[in-house]
Subunit: 232 residues, 2 copies
DNA sequence: GTGCACAACATTGTATACAATCTTGGATTC
DNA sequence: GAATCCAAGATTGTATACAATGTTGTGCAC
């Protein structure tokens, strides 16, 4: 759809965000990125706008593009949407999973384990997402995959913001895959919901943990205090 | 998010596609559009790419952008996805529809009736879509609305391709709204599914009605015949 | 007459230049 | 010393120019 050059830039920036090399609220300056990739601003601009359409970055007119910093509220919406889509995916896949697709998913789980044990944490996280996406792909409905790709990307950012760094939920995928393999629709659905709930509940969504990272929010209640304190 | 200028161009082109002023597979030439709107190619280009991200147009590199022409297969996927999302929307809205939201939806239904009776067919179609979108908005989860907006737009194109021009399903919306108002989750869900199924089944999805409009497809089986006929 | 090569054209892809807007720093005024 | 205004800088938004690519038409060879 887009030119191969743009596709490359898109993948690079997206991966940088997902691997937390670019943290939420960090600015994406077009000229800087253009220089890094050895191209002009034009293709970079297109990519940034595409990422904005996917809500991975937020554009403020005449100010700049920033890595999105989902609020707790938005994060909950993302996981709610994931539940809806992934339940539909699981239910559908239960009825017609080919051997080939099964093998692919099983291998992903194995790779995830290996990365986990090898301490390659970002690879493990990436593969975790790939499992969900591959499952969506197996459903045969491209919209499940398309929308889930967006939601999974956002999940990475959300976990970066509110999650603890350790990831453990490995067996869940295997259990889900087993249930699907056996065509156990209701069990597979239940397991998927529990799995997603587990991820969501591992996040620090209590108010005190909110990390807005936008300065306006951080110092929102300061104004009244300034001037009343004793500054030496 | 995008500049107001681009937003205007976006709305205009999108509406033109939805009102069938631009038919599937028609090319969107950037310079032509730019001239129409009195701007340069740059903002038009951004809009076209945005529409491509929404699958409303298809870009072929170095060739052009064309109004999408969903296949029967893709159309079915769109309606499957709609069912999943809209069922979730309806179930959620059942539990917390405010009076204000109810009034808004009731008024949309009324407007739809008026447009229908007044013969303003495209307005009626537009309002039909607005009802579904407004319902999604009432759910409070912006992702329902975001994705549904895409799917509803595509539905217009699909109906343009495979549907008959008469639209009748008016009472459905009222029945759904009543069920929601009464908090009847299961009935509301059933009605929504039936409603969407009705729309889908009103489409001519039999093979003989497929209108690909891409010339390669139209004349796919011609080659063998050429030369064997008697051309005077 | 048919098939192929090449050139002209149309259209998109990319780079660059300029305009619009926001932010920041300093000078001026009180 | 504090507040305000204005100018300089930084960054994005838009327009234009040029390069890459695909399409179409024409002429030549056979």
């Amino acid at each position: 759809m887009a030119s191969p050059q743009e596709q490359e830039i898109y993948q690079a920036i997206k991966q940088a965000i997902m691997e937390q090399k670019m943290r939420p609220n960090m600015q994406l300056v077009e000229e800087g990125l253009a220089e890094s990739f050895g191209v002009s601003r034009t293709p970079v601009r297109n990519v940034v706008r595409r990422l904005a359409a996917e809500k991975l970055v937020t554009i403020i007119p005449y100010k700049g593009a920033f890595v999105s910093c989902p609020t707790i509220h938005e994060a909950r919406q993302v996981f709610e949407m994931r539940r809806v889509i992934e339940v539909a995916v699981v239910r559908k896949v239960c009825t017609h999973l080919t051997d080939e697709q099964y093998q692919l998913l099983a291998r992903l789980i194995q790779e995830e384990h290996q990365a986990q044990h090898g301490g390659r944490i970002f690879e493990a996280i990436r593969i975790t997402g790939d499992f969900h996406l591959q499952l969506a792909e197996a459903s045969g409905n491209s919209y499940y995959h398309r929308y889930l790709e967006e939601l999974v990307s956002l999940s990475y950012v959300i976990i970066a913001l509110y999650g603890e760094q350790k990831t453990k939920c490995c067996d869940d995928h295997q259990l889900i895959l087993n249930a699907i393999r056996q065509g156990n629709v209701d069990i597979a659905e239940r397991l998927m919901i529990e799995h997603l709930d587990e991820i969501e509940q591992a996040l620090h969504f209590e108010e005190q943990y909110e990390r807005p990272l936008s300065l306006t929010d951080i110092f929102a209640n300061r104004r009244s205090r300034v001037g009343s304190g004793s500054h030496s």
